[in-house]
Point group: C2
Chain length 339, copies 2
């Protein structure tokens, strides 16, 4: 039995990872930590009585608390999801992003080093196969007018969030180079799907549409992001953790879309579910943010490495992904909660 | 009068920068901070009574103390030198490097943002010309078997020290991209010269040689580093601060040498000063570190950008730089302090 620490275990990505890992691999037990203990994610509620799952409320900014978890449970693997992720919030309060995403990542890494290693390039025998999976983002490469960034590109973050994630990636790969720790990094694009947070694009658009208000779209909807469905994210994380090469970084991507394309797909889906006199499309308004118009950004990356080295291909078409997300929101009557 | 905060003001590079800046530019006053207040650097002792110079003992890990300095002195410029720099120490205690070099840099950056900016891309009118100079290292690019890294290369740190500096660079350039702050980064190679710390290669070799012991050299002396004389470092920092383009990074380099070449030059210089029966060269011993032999590393960078954009060329030949360093050590009788 291997004991894996999952940080940020109550988050959208972390909770899904825990759910799938415990289901697929009987040989793991999981210790999840999160800075929030309320609102146990739906996916994890059935696990509360499971002996292979334990939860502790720990903020990774507290290095002593993190080290204590390693000791108490004899942690042999790490999947590090914990991070502040909201770009807009990072602009207003970058401090908590530096503390959580950079210093917090350092705390988890260094606790693993102390628990697993006798010295540089000398793992303790019991931990010679121990691996540290770090979850990061394609935003570390910044936007580009054309072409696709890959893992060889220079980091060029344009938000405090992206800068903090780029910094944490360097901490992780630096620990591989400095100490010979077995680390892998998964840089995922914009993950969406059932159980996602209410403060992301799809839930916000649905809330606006169904509450009868207009649907504000910035930068003419011309911003481009890559969208990765949660099922495919899990498969990519599974592949990178179990098959990835030590010290390497892998980008996982789905479908690159303009924001307006996502919004239009959502409106069309809602037109089928809740047809009105007019299409929801008629409620779209192009607006400028309070701090002035910005040129649209295009974030585009290539996931060729993950495909070629680990034979990973996304399986969920973006249309179906959006449909599943909408279905989940409606089936759970979550839509009434947010309207 | 512009008021510049110099962090790490008591260090080798910071104290030289302060000394030269106050001499060359009458329009600046300087507020220096350092986590150590004892052992005022020789260069700064004459400044203690100067009204254009103030010193406060502040650890940049303490964000409130840093913010207080910005308020108290109405800081309009920053030259950020404060950093933990010893690679070997970073391997043994990476935590203080993450806290000082990464989070500490964030604290200084964020204090500048709060003091200078009304919002993203909206500097307060009084600070529209304010600039943040960040001092970094060529080690962020990692070693390479051949060729020269330049500013477009991907960061690839191989020590916790280098990882922490690479992270701090991303924080700085991230603040330029995110908030439109005027930042410049100077990545200097291995700076040497009068007033350098006792725990660096040249003083250590001199101490060994003059105390009659053997001179241990690791990795067959085949490690390659670039050596930049302190006078040239100051000139590069002056050029980057006053002429560099906002948001840009500049590498400053001197002469790339194998460690054995530096050691041999030192021995030959000492042979002239303190001739014995045998040359100091005969005391050189190639040894393996306790944790096993390592392949020699070659750190090599191109400073073409600094040359082409800002017309900077190092002026001090490495031979003369070493001679000046040795002369200073002997003239100050510092050699007797360390033997």
């Amino acid at each position: 039995m291997r004991t894996m620490l999952v940080t940020g275990g109550n988050g959208f990505l972390g909770s899904r990872f825990i759910h799938e890992l415990l289901t697929k691999y009987p040989a793991y037990q999981i210790v999840a930590i999160d800075h929030e203990a309320e609102d146990v994610p739906e996916l994890l509620r059935p696990l509360l009585a499971c002996k292979r799952y334990a939860f502790h409320r720990v903020d990774i900014r507290n290095n002593e608390a993190v080290e204590q978890v390693f000791e108490q449970y004899d942690i042999s693997e790490v999947a590090h999801f914990a991070a502040k992720t909201h770009v807009g919030e990072s602009m207003r309060n970058p401090g908590i992003f530096a503390e959580t995403n950079v210093l917090g990542t350092f705390h988890v890494l260094d606790a693993a080093r102390k628990h697993w290693m006798n010295g540089p390039f000398e793992p303790k025998p019991a931990y010679s196969g121990s691996r540290f999976l770090h979850i990061s983002t394609d935003q570390v490469y910044g936007p580009r007018a054309e072409g696709f960034a890959d893992e060889t590109f220079k980091y060029d973050p344009i938000s405090p969030y992206a800068a903090s994630k780029a910094s944490s990636d360097l901490m992780v790969s630096g620990f591989h180079e400095s100490y010979g720790m077995d680390t892998v990094i998964l840089q995922a694009t914009n993950v969406f799907g059932p159980h996602q947070q209410n403060d992301k694009l799809i839930p916000i658009i649905m809330k606006k549409a169904l509450s009868g208000s207009t649907i504000p779209v910035y930068s003419g909807g011309e911003d481009v992001h890559d969208w990765l469905y949660i099922d495919d994210f899990w498969r990519a994380a599974d592949a990178v953790f179990h098959l990835g090469n030590a010290g390497e970084t892998y980008l996982a991507a789905g479908t690159a879309l303009k924001t307006i394309e996502i919004v239009e797909r959502l409106c069309q889906t809602l037109d089928r579910h809740f047809p009105g006199n007019d299409s929801y499309l008629s409620r779209i308004r192009f607006v400028e943010p309070a701090d002035g118009a910005k040129a649209p950004h295009r974030f585009a990356v290539s996931a060729d490495k993950l495909h070629q080295q680990l034979e990973f291909t996304p399986e969920t078409d973006v249309e179906r992904g959006i449909q599943e997300t909408v279905d989940w929101m409606l089936s759970k009557k979550r839509i009434w909660e947010v309207v």
